[in-house]
Subunit: 211 residues, 2 copies
């Protein structure tokens, strides 16, 4: 029974809900939870810290697919395909919960587990449709920083570089830097180095070029 279960499952989890946390792991910064291409073994939930999901393209190029913050699922995508499509690396000291997988031998699939998983996956699916595609660079950066500031537990400094933010958002490193500078100039962002104090999302600028 996880003492922080309310954070992950937003609701009381009864001990006989079918939920089993097989293992809780602590990852040092820089260590990987699994590598891209590895066989699927389990789904994890981030308990604290931050994971960055890195994908190596067939051309050898790398890109950050996503960052996962406390409460978010990691590795669900690998279930259908059998292999993890990305590498999960701890961007900061991170705790993860490995969920008992229904098909483990001698363990009948639990309806409650499946429902919870399905619900959580649906949430992530919805979130992934809320893409900031077609927003100008400055708004994408603001949205990302805001999201990070809202969900990082415990409140930590940004554990990734500007270049990685750019990779994540589909922007060049320099564009991220300039967007941050402009947000600060507009009083929309209070941030020094990697420490975020305050972010204001989407204050509309008249005449701004949409996309």
């Amino acid at each position: 029974m996880c003492s922080a279960s309310h954070r992950c499952w937003e609701g009381a989890i009864t001990t006989n809900s079918g939920f089993v946390v097989k293992r809780r792991a602590v990852l040092e910064r820089g260590t990987t939870l699994f590598q891209q291409g590895e066989r699927f073994t389990a789904v994890h939930v981030v308990a604290s810290g931050c994971l960055k999901l890195r994908e190596t393209n067939e051309d050898g190029g790398e890109r950050i697919v996503a960052v996962r913050l406390p409460g978010e699922l990691v590795g669900m995508e690998a279930w259908a395909r059998g292999r993890y499509p990305y590498t999960a690396e701890a961007a900061a000291p991170t705790k993860v919960c490995q969920l008992q997988w229904p098909h483990a031998k001698g363990c009948a699939p639990s309806t409650a587990l499946l429902e919870r998983l399905l619900r959580k996956t649906a949430v992530q699916l919805e979130h992934s449709t809320r893409v900031w595609m077609s927003l100008p660079a400055i708004e994408r950066v603001a949205a990302f920083l805001d999201h990070f500031a809202q969900h990082a537990r415990p409140s930590v400094d940004l554990p990734i570089t500007r270049a990685e933010i750019g990779s994540l958002l589909g922007l060049a490193e320099e564009t991220v830097v300039r967007a941050i500078a402009r947000l600060r100039a507009q009083q929309r962002l209070d941030m020094q180095g990697r420490r975020i104090a305050r972010v204001v999302r989407e204050r509309r600028e008249p005449g701004a070029q949409g996309r």
Copy 2:
């Protein structure tokens, strides 16, 4: 028992697998399966045709969130939130299967159903991470047209306007038009009006501006 179940669930579905299709509906072009903001009632699977998922922003702006082709889930995102986050409209004559929802009265949740749903949702989640973000406009258009041509069953003309493609890809309508023109000039696309005959994805151009 759906005669085309192999398409939706990629594998034989036994009659007692726990899968129940509650209702099969035929939607004329322009009719909606559900409206944004409506209470969640069920998850559907597209059997044939094409749905376009439209979202009205708080600013009143509309954007196409996605198109759903045969075999894809519709409405899963609404389960967790309770309301549909987008309007699902038939872009072409469309058949959908409404899945029996586990929590319907008197119907115990079926493990098999949940597993299938979860697997399918995971596939969609993975697909949504494969965003063509940071690709130049021409490649995004090529990828979309290729995806549509591959998955449309039966093979139909593109049921959406260039402006809608642009909205979906985060591009301006004119950019989509010009991308199509350039793809045709490069012999990568055989398409007249809305009829796609052939698409070639990602032929690399040296010196192309990445993003």
